[in-house]
Structures are given as structure tokens and as C-alpha cells.
Symmetry: C2
Subunit: 329 residues, 2 copies
């Protein structure tokens, strides 16, 4: 058995392709990586912000890479897209009318938000115009959300878009970012969360991609601590989902609810709820969304109310590590 | 970007090692595989039944391979071992006194079962004596269970051991098998489950390793259907856990409860419970097990009652596929 210490250098996609297999290596998950058999590279380019690559895999359908990191595959994208959209949507005390997605240029979260007939406006602030273009071309089932008439796509810096938004103007903001390296790094920092907190209405929710319990407890702990400092009087909770093509097969989301009425340090006017108790997102309050016949979108494949509640049940090791940082767990 | 169609052949460990990285390929998960950076191969041999290999990895601690498939790593073994032991143990209506593990030669399930002071006898039927030997040498934290005075290790054919057991003699049987290829194939077949059903007491539980929802829904469906035919009047349910080093980052277990009293077609004498309603394992009935100070084992890292119940909340795609095959889901 050979046991050479030579090491494939993580970095560009070229370095990680070996005999028709693509291996996803990164300093974000040192010493491990998912390997996928490639059938064909369909697209490869460099945008203003990142490397963009699409390949057809043997077992996972079409795969989107940004800077060499798997963003989504046909096979399992529904898990992440459904959970990061429907957990916050179903947690709200009153149905959302105006929602914002920061990032998420593949369109999958848009597709999920568009299932709700009561939603009137869906805005997306995506920094990289190449991502929606590539998604429309290679991932028609994800990009279907772009064709909903309620959707407005803003190609811009998501942080500036949120900063410029009127205060209290969104029921829900979903931050569908890549990992906190490269262009998405600032989407994990306090100034952005302060802007998010300002832009969401009292009683509204900010839900952000928040890495894996198995790999990134330190990042999650720092993020939860920072969110708790920003969402004073509200709540900060963490939910997870399984997804085979993300590192370690799991990813989570931080669910931050803004105080619904004046709270010490919160400084917000009373919302419709008015009770002042922080929103507990573990219990769904809105009905499960149905199919979206107008867009030809199929039924939900992952999310249900039962899965919603179960997603907040953290393994003991994670619960201990995050004790004191989360409002509900 | 190169895109050669040449393919590393799945098979022996030698074929899957490339420049110090070990890639786990198998026809059980075609087109994908986990890659781990190796530091050192610690052991490599061929037992009477399979290839046995132990290596030190960069990020997951020590790794055990059987026939080239990852069985456990220091980093995440607790998830599987705790869940396959404590879900059935905590589901029983009265505390278990006599338990059996079929397979599980690494000792991790023994360690978890030994946490219960009310357990009087723990038997293990492991076919391959090399596995416990290797575990004691390279995985002392897993193998600690072997040193519990209530444990008896039987190196034998697990099927024959179960067939020879007195009827109604175990409160719980855990089948901690590898995948249904090679020596473990028969552990997924009906004659074995009929023997298990006979050997477990009325109201008792058989809990078996049952593959991944993301990869093996067809196997799981066939297994659930067969279990329902065997555990007539009882219940068959499915629970999952996350575990990064198993294919797709997830594995599940089939939880089969034997009817607690005479049922049409069940043919068993009334047990202590006597009510006749099938046991619903989604609700724990026994307290969470504490630490096991005598063996120096730490506290639970994954399992809690909350995680127990959440483990039965299946994603919609799985729930639909298994509809009609499971008693509770």
C-alpha cells in the first residue's frame, strides 16, 4: 500500500481533477473532500468575482462550482433551498409579503419563496451576474424562480443594497451565501448583520447560510454570538439539514428574529405581534407551502412541518458548544 | 481543464490510494466518494473474511476500513454508535436486562450499551475475530466496552448464534453490520430477521443498520417491507443520524418492535406490557443514559431524547418512498 505524503494542492478546479474525478478540497475542510465522477465539463469561465464552472456528474446530475466549491447539484439542491426558505417563512407570525434574498444567484431560494401566494415582492441582490446567467442556462429547474413576475433581480453589492433599503421594509431576508472566504466573507460580519437587522421589520426574520456543525462549530459560535448582540430582544436559533454534496453532508442556517416590539436595547417600534416575547422559530406558524403550478414547480421534496421542528434538535456536542449563544435550542 | 474518462477502479484499498489520499469508492455509491488525507497506514491484513486496514488520517483521527469501506473514525464514530444503541434502549417500555449485538466488532455499541446500570448481560456475536483485536489495539476509546464484566464476546456466525438462542430471550438485539455486500449480505435477508424476531422477547426491539436515505431508498424500502412481514403486530420504524465519514454523510437504522401480546398472525404470548398496541419508538420511555465512570467513558456526545425524536422525522422524499412500509413515520 503506497502512502506518499505528497498532497494535491487545494485551489483551482484544474488542480483537483484527477482522471475524470473532481475532488473538492479547501482549507475550510482540511484533510477531507467529496469526489465526484465527471461526465463532461459544460462551462468554465472567470467572472468579475470568481471562477464559475459547471459539470455534468455521473451520479449527482449537473454541478455548479464557484471558486472550486460545490454550490449545488441537481440531485440534492432541494434540501438546502427548501430548508433555508421554508423554515423562516413558516416561522413568521404573519404571512410574508415582501422578501429579499442576498446572494442565491442560482435561483433555487427564489423558486421556494415563490410558492407562497401571499408574497407580493421578491427581491434578489446578487453581486455576480454570471451566476444567474449560468443557472438559467444549465439549471432550469432551479432558475425557474427568475420567471416569477414578483421577482426583481438586482445585480449589485448585497451589503450596499441592504444598507440602502428602507428600515423595517422586509418580512424576511434570506442570505444565501457561499463560504466566508472570497466574495462572501463580508456576509458573515457584524456591519452586514446590523444592516440586515435594520432592514427587516419588527417580528421579521433574517435567515443566513451558517456552515456545518461537524466542521465549523467555531465559526457558528462566533456568528451566533454576534447575531445575539445585534438581534437584541429578538431570538437567534440554529437549524440544520442533510445534503450529501456539501462538506460532511450537512449544512445549517442561523435564524434571527427581530424583536417584535420595543425591547431594552432593541429600540424598535412595536410590530403587529406586539407581545414582546421573542419569536421561537422551532414551531411553524404558517401552513406548509403547496406546489407552484404557474411555474411548473413540483411538490416539496424535503421540507415539512415535522422536519422543520426536528431541524432545531442539535446533537449534544453542538448544543454544548453553542450553549449561551442561542436563544432557543 | 482535463476531463479524462479513465476511472479509478473501485475495489481494494491499494487502488483507491492516490498521492497519500484515500478515496472510498464502491458500487454501493457509484460516482461519488469521500477522500481523506492519510498520515500513516497503521495496520493492513486479510482476515478469514475480509481486508482489514487501519490508517491515521489528517482530520478524522484513526480510520478502520473493512474491504476498503470506512467502518468508523475517531472523529465521528460516536454519532452512529450512540444512536443505534440509545434509540432502541430508550424506546423500550421496561429497562433492558439482556442484550445482544450482532457484528459491531469495533466495540462502540458495546460501550454505549454498557452505560446502563440495569443491563445484566451483553452478548456480542462477531464473525471476524480480527475486528475486535484490531479495535482493542487501535481504537481504545471504542473497544473500552469489551472490558465491561457483563460483556461476553462470541466469535461465531451471527445468524447461527441468533438461531440457537432461546426464544424470547433478549430485550434488545442490535445488528451493527457493514453494507449488504460481502460477509454482511445475509444480515439483510428474511431468514435472519425471522430468527431475530424469535430471539427477542415480546415488546422487545431489534435495531439494525439500515443504510442511507440519500443513496439506498430501494434497499431501505425492501428491508422495511420484509421487516413488516416478520414483525407482525409489532412496529417497524426508521430513524437517521448524520455522520460525515459514511457515504452521503448520513446513515439510518430500522427499529423493529416485536408485538407485546398475542396479535393476529403474531403468535406470541403476552408480554409484560400486555396492551397489544405496537410500540412507537419515536417517544423515549427510558431516561437518557449517564456516563459510565467505571470504564472511564465520557458523556454522550450526540444522543439526547430530543435528538431521538427528531431522528424519526424523515424528509418528504423519503417519507413518500417508504409510505406503507413503516408503522410509524
Amino acid at each position: 500500500m503506497s502512502n506518499s505524503e505528497s498532497k494535491p494542492a487545494p485551489g483551482t478546479a484544474e488542480q483537483m481533477i484527477n482522471a475524470g474525478w473532481y475532488t473538492e478540497l479547501s482549507p475550510m475542510w482540511p484533510g477531507q473532500g467529496l469526489t465526484l465522477k465527471m461526465k463532461e465539463v459544460l462551462y468554465k469561465s472567470r467572472s468579475d468575482f470568481q471562477d464559475v464552472c459547471v459539470f455534468e456528474s455521473e451520479s449527482m446530475g449537473t454541478v455548479l462550482l464557484l471558486d472550486g466549491v460545490i454550490q449545488c447539484t441537481d440531485r440534492d439542491e432541494f434540501s438546502y433551498q427548501e430548508m433555508i426558505a421554508h423554515i423562516p417563512m413558516c416561522s413568521l407570525e404573519r404571512p410574508a409579503k415582501k422578501v429579499l434574498v442576498v446572494g442565491g444567484g442560482d435561483g433555487g431560494v427564489l423558486r421556494e419563496l415563490a410558492r407562497y401566494p401571499h408574497v407580493e415582492e421578491i427581491h434578489m441582490a446578487e453581486i455576480d451576474k454570471m451566476v444567474p446567467e449560468v443557472s438559467k442556462r444549465f439549471f432550469p429547474e432551479m432558475a425557474v424562480g427568475f420567471s416569477d413576475p414578483r421577482v426583481t433581480l438586482h445585480i449589485c453589492d448585497g451589503i450596499k443594497f441592504v444598507e440602502d433599503a428602507p428600515a423595517d421594509s422586509y418580512d424576511l431576508i434570506v442570505v444565501d451565501s457561499s463560504d466566508p472566504v472570497g466574495p462572501a466573507e463580508v456576509l458573515f460580519e457584524k456591519p452586514f448583520f446590523e444592516a440586515l437587522h435594520r432592514a427587516v421589520r419588527p417580528g421579521g426574520i433574517v435567515c443566513t447560510q451558517a456552515e456545518s456543525l461537524w466542521l465549523h462549530l467555531d465559526i457558528i459560535k462566533a456568528l451566533a454570538t454576534m447575531c445575539s448582540q445585534v438581534f437584541v430582544g429578538g431570538s437567534v436559533s440554529y437549524a440544520t439539514t442533510t445534503i450529501p454534496t456539501y462538506p460532511s453532508g450537512q449544512i445549517g442556517m442561523m435564524v434571527c428574529a427581530k424583536a417584535s416590539s420595543a425591547q431594552p436595547g432593541g429600540g424598535e417600534a412595536g410590530g403587529a405581534e406586539g407581545a414582546g416575547a421573542p419569536l421561537d422559530p422551532r414551531t411553524p406558524r404558517q401552513p406548509e407551502p403547496g406546489a407552484l403550478p404557474a411555474l411548473g414547480v413540483g411538490e416539496l421534496q424535503y421540507y415539512s412541518h415535522e422536519v422543520h421542528t426536528a431541524a432545531f434538535a442539535l446533537p449534544v456536542f453542538a448544543k454544548k458548544a453553542l450553549a449561551g449563544c442561542l436563544t432557543f435550542q
